[in-house]
Subunit: 346 residues, 2 copies
């Protein structure tokens, strides 16, 4: 299988390197040959080529079976007046590959509950997946700027909503059959469309699924007070961005949460939901588990290698159960190196 | 003083009635005469007049010293095809009175920590105020709808940002001098403007204030993992909506959080941040503390009666310390009546 690796910026190179080693190990064990190619994205690509997503990167990604990405961004490229930004590379590759469904599973691990700000008794049994719409909404609408004002347009089409809701419902069928759709239908027109389309798709195509609607403000609350009640949560791009970072606190650290971005095509993109963490970059202290778990999702969703995916997930479980914690997970703030955490997974 | 009371829908009439009794009691104790007039808003106004904000209500509010509001909305008026919605009344009165700064203080009470999903040791010493921009952003931008799509426009002008940032900084001066501005400047044009204007206003007009910028997704996380570090948080309308509901979990219940909506004019609007809770309406079980604490903010910000405001806040503290909990605060889910909780404050 052809895997394009986009390390990106900050801790991106360290965490993708760890995940590649785990992929190589699992490949050896099960007799698969993975072929890795490195390409540029984000700030690293801007520095080298002036563009956050060079054409060469996109072409390589299109030809690949899967893309493994680290993270993009950092203060170096965040000047208010900057013409190109690392984040544009990430948004552009999601859009160009048609990766409209971003799956972000949250399943707190018993050993990591100490790192969560949430009371442990609320977390046992939590097992949810946020399906975030990834190529529409205010992230991609027209932007304007004048001397005295600015604007961003949030747009959704019926088709954009249908396809991500179908994906969420299909996923729910393989789980507990419950979908929670999140919007702000009491204020936004896009949310009213979202609610109508979701209701219709479930009624007509997924009558076996139970559907519940939640306003985004209530959801931000209930995600904390009764996280066990959720199975699959489907929502638009911006709400999904906010709610998944919030949900990471259920798991104890952003450093534990993987994601898969999928479309209709074969190629998927896999990345941790954390950012590039420039403050700790290059110091071998970043948590590699989120990227390793993203590699497990890659095995599952792009390569159809379910036992191999489970094997990686079990190995991470084992490392956590053995108390192999990077600093983000250590109550005292000290922890093992990136390298040591990766080795514990092998 | 002239106070216009807008009970609204659901539990609105019950919680505003409680707050009025507390205001009457504090008036008697300190020798003030408060004059209350009731007007219609939301679903109740739609039922009676066809409009969510009748002209008569707005005129009364404009003539008053302050407005005390319950909550609006409910399933009765939430038909997807509905032409008028209760929420429009609330948005319209905020806009018409120019109430651009919505102050939402969050200060967990020791006695209520049991009701919070957050670990208690993270909550001691938490004392923050979210200043939410209330009359701009995607709530008020143009909305479109076609057979196949919908859109909402998010707009901000320099002036809209300046005035709410000034309000936040002035507030921070009377507190710990720290302002955290929340945006999504790595993606949104309105957020980039927000960040530029905030930076300039603080540098030029509030050099004594320490300013920090946070991306909204990170904020959703840090609000839970290190809530003690925040003093004043200033953000745009939609982000403020989501983050304050999330922050309510620090206090244990949405039923404890008051708010004040202020503009340049004299009249302010005071309301709990919770909604109309139609499921428990009319059963004398709603938590009245948030509305009573909103009345305290009314005494402080619109009437300049600081000792009276403190007296009410102390009385609520006392009731909580004595364990007078409504159902939302009771671990076992049972609790005292709205009436009993109010009486405990008198
Ligand atoms: C870097 C940024 C553009 C990105 C997003 O908001 O989509 C990130 O926060 C994420 O969640 O993947
Ligand atoms: C009812 C709704 C329009 C309102 C808002 O989103 O502003 C409410 O959620 C609030 O926070 O006051």
């Amino acid at each position: 299988a052809e895997i394009v690796v986009l390390p990106g910026d900050g801790i991106g190179p360290e965490v993708t390197a760890s995940a590649m080693q785990v992929l190589r190990a699992v490949g050896q064990r099960y007799g698969h040959e993975f072929h890795f190619t490195h390409e540029l994205i984000g700030g690293a690509a801007i520095d080298a080529t002036g563009e956050p997503l060079p054409a060469r990167t996109l072409e390589a990604a299109k030809r690949a079976d899967a893309v493994l990405l680290g993270a993009v961004g950092g203060p170096k490229w965040s000047d208010p007046g900057a013409k190109v930004r690392p984040e544009q590379g990430l948004l552009a590759i999601r859009k160009a590959l048609g990766l409209y469904a971003n799956l972000r599973p949250v399943k707190p691990h018993a050993a990591a509950l100490g790192a969560s700000p949430i009371k442990p008794h609320l977390l046992t049994g939590v097992d949810l997946v946020v399906v975030r719409e990834l190529t529409g909404g205010v992230y991609f609408g027209q932007k304007t700027r004048t001397a005295t004002s600015a604007s961003d347009l949030c747009e959704y089409s019926v088709e954009e909503i249908e396809r991500v809701v179908r994906r969420a419902c299909t996923l729910a069928r393989s789980r507990r059959g419950h979908v929670t759709s999140v919007d702000k239908a009491n204020v936004l027109e896009t949310s009213r469309l979202w609610r109508e389309v979701t209701t219709r798709v479930v009624r007509e195509e997924f009558p076996d699924i139970t559907l519940e609607h939640q306003l985004v403000d209530s959801m931000a609350m209930h995600l904390l007070s009764r996280p066990r009640e959720y199975d699959v949560i489907v929502t638009e791009n911006m709400f999904g961005d906010i709610l998944t970072d919030e949900a990471s606190m259920l798991a104890g650290s952003l450093g534990l949460l993987p994601s898969a971005s999928l479309g209709e095509g074969r190629v998927g993109l896999y990345e941790p939901i954390h950012g590039s963490a420039p403050d700790i970059a290059g110091r071998d202290v970043a948590n590699p588990y989120a990227t390793i778990l993203s590699a497990a999702m890659l095995l599952r969703h792009s390569l159809g290698l379910e036992p191999e995916a489970r094997c990686v997930e079990k190995a991470v479980d084992g490392a956590l159960a053995a108390g192999v914690f990077t600093a983000d997970l250590s109550p005292a703030g000290r922890g093992v190196s990136t390298q040591a955490a990766m080795v514990a997974v092998l």
